[in-house]
């Protein structure tokens, strides 16, 4: 039972990371109809800015500010210089241009920060573990990550359901042309959404930096999973991104914990070890295929 709870927490933490990344991605894709592969790069930029700021000042707060500001400013630049010119192009052009931006960003970060992965320590306040239940100690940093995910989810929900900007975002996801026709400055709305996505990525970057390797290309791998999340959740819907993140995060944690044990009982370990690790790697895609089969618009699509 303790193990189950621990794995559930692990799943929640991964879900929180996925949610921070996919919330922006789904809005950009759903509202602006832009496939933005550079999204993962904002996460990397955030992590590098955080590590640099933490190394210079020793303060985690400064790292958060640097990460969010760095990713936000870079996101703004990318929107102004590249994405803005792609709205009317088809998806292939967008993929090509943003893939180019991914390569460019990787080199830019290499030039600025060097090739060696920088180090960022866990802030003293979040170091160590707490005993949640007798026999179940869990790292504080990971709990903080889950907490940050919850706060952002609630904040986004308030923003989208209770504010004028949120209303426009929702309207934009439903029917962008109509919003445009009603006289709303869609360009500014797009820019806002894009930068908001970048800010969330930057925040994900600073929260991940103490736990993960801060390295070139760290955004690309997780970006693929983030796309799976928004497809499962339904493109354009923040609620969908939340549900998708939970589905992928939980299935990943429980899959990694229990698939090897189950298969280990069914067959000898020489066979089950490689088989289960392949199955775990594929599980997100299997889930996506199942969802597409039965709910082609995703589990919680934006209304159309």
């Amino acid at each position: 039972m303790l193990k189950f709870i621990e794995q559930a927490l692990n799943g929640l933490q991964y879900s929180a990371l996925l949610f921070l990344l996919s919330a922006g991605l789904t809005l950009v894709f759903g509202i602006m109809n832009v496939i933005n592969l550079t999204h993962g790069s904002f996460y990397m930029v955030g992590a590098f800015c955080a590590a640099a700021a933490a190394a210079a000042t020793g303060s985690f707060l400064a790292a958060i500010v640097a990460a969010v500001a760095g990713a936000g400013v870079y996101g703004l630049l990318v929107e102004l210089l590249v994405i803005r010119h792609l709205y009317r192009r088809d998806h292939l052009d967008q993929v090509l241009a943003t893939l180019g931006m991914v390569l460019f960003t990787n080199e830019l970060v290499t030039v600025l920060f060097g090739r060696s992965p920088p180090f960022m320590d866990i802030p003293p306040a979040l170091a160590g573990s707490v005993e949640l239940l007798p026999g179940l100690a869990y790292p504080v940093m990971r709990l903080a990550f889950i907490g940050a995910g919850v706060v952002v989810a609630v904040g986004l929900w308030l923003l989208i359901s209770r504010t004028r900007v949120g209303m426009l975002v929702r309207a934009g996801a439903d029917d962008g042309e109509m919003v445009d026709a009603l006289g709303v400055d869609v360009r500014r709305l797009f820019m806002l959404v894009f930068v908001m996505g970048a800010l969330l990525c930057g925040f994900a970057g600073v929260m991940s930096a103490p736990l993960l390797a801060v390295q070139i290309g760290m955004g690309e791998r997780i970006l693929i999973t983030a796309f799976v999340v928004i497809v499962i959740g339904g493109v354009g819907s923040v609620r969908g991104a939340l549900i998708g993140s939970l589905v992928i995060g939980m299935s990943d944690a429980f899959g990694r914990a229990y698939i090897p044990l189950l298969l280990g009982r069914l067959m000898p370990s020489q066979l089950s070890d490689p088989l289960s690790s392949s199955l775990i790697s594929a599980s997100a895609y299997i889930l996506m295929a199942l969802v597409l089969l039965f709910r082609p618009l995703g589990l919680a699509p934006a209304r159309h």
Binding site: N10, Q13, P117, P139, A213, Q215, I216
Partner: protein, 389 residues
Amino acid sequence: MKFSVRTILAVAAATAALTVQAQTPVRIGFLTTLSTPAGYIGEDERDGFMLAVKEEGDKLGGVTVRVMIEDDALKPANAKQIADRMLQDGVRLFTGINFSNVLVAVAPTVLEAGGTYVSVNAAPSTFAGKGCNAGYFAASYQNDSYSDSSGMAANKLGYKRMVLLAPNYQAGRDALNGFKSTYKGEVLGEIYTKLDQSDFSVELARIRELKPDAIFQFHPGGAGINLAKQYANSGLAQSVPMITPIYSMDRRMLAATGNAGNGFYLTASWSADLDNAENKRFVESFVKAYGRLPTDYAATSYDTARLIGSALRAVGGDVTGKRDAFRAALRKADFKSVKGKFRFAQNQHPVQDWYLLRIEPDASGKLGYKTVERIAADHVDPHAPECKM
């Protein structure tokens, strides 16, 4: 003015042509990984190799060389294309590749064209056993050796029950098999991770549940950094020691993990504190040239350059005309290795000592490697007897 511009140009061109002819440099194709997250590895290999070249004034073994450095981007197809192009240009001496999968794509092409390949790092079993080749040398080690030496280290440290972790790909499975070939205790579990995995919380929970005496893991690069950080953060590091090959906690990774590496046991065939004159000189020279301490990658690469130098000297730089003499000279390994002792087994892979290192804070409190003891003397890889040459 009596000289026309044309005359001056003609004279200049003629002298230029003469100097080129007087000392046609031996071209060395140096393919390595300079981009991607693993780019720092290629950087160290390049710098180690070029240090030897610079020390001699653009020469190796008294022969002028031109090192043609290319980035393979960790893609076998890329690397093969570059090698093909260089072969067409007449380059016949190659080195530099760090990754086994890239090497396996390039080496056969080089060997078929009558070229010679000297590995600075990767040394898959493919070319160590039945597939050994007169034109193929590894100046580093053979891939099995870093993990079977870890198995020996675990025996020596008295760990009776262990959990093993490695990514689910060829080198990962090889590492676990290598470890098991020498480890005498009980393996409680083998955990295969995803290649380039970033989160290890689930695996750590399993380790905690299995309660091993120690764990062995093989995760070079980013995944290894993730694992070390999370291992320390989970509190496991205090109760369960870790043994890894040096490549799962190289100097750059150590710098990226803060204090997390403290207390790790590592096995390596070289260490900056190895007590021999050549090594001291190399470390000093490297620090002076690049302002950082060398890694294993840099050290074996430096050795490779000096090995090539010794053979170039023997044939006066004629690697194509006197190809067999060049290879015979390589086989003699007549150079001063930074590892102290160095010679080749019959499969042209090294016979060398392996050491157990421990990561400890030095006098200034900064983490570094300390050599604990020699765990294998004159270690030969298990594939050598299969090589008939």
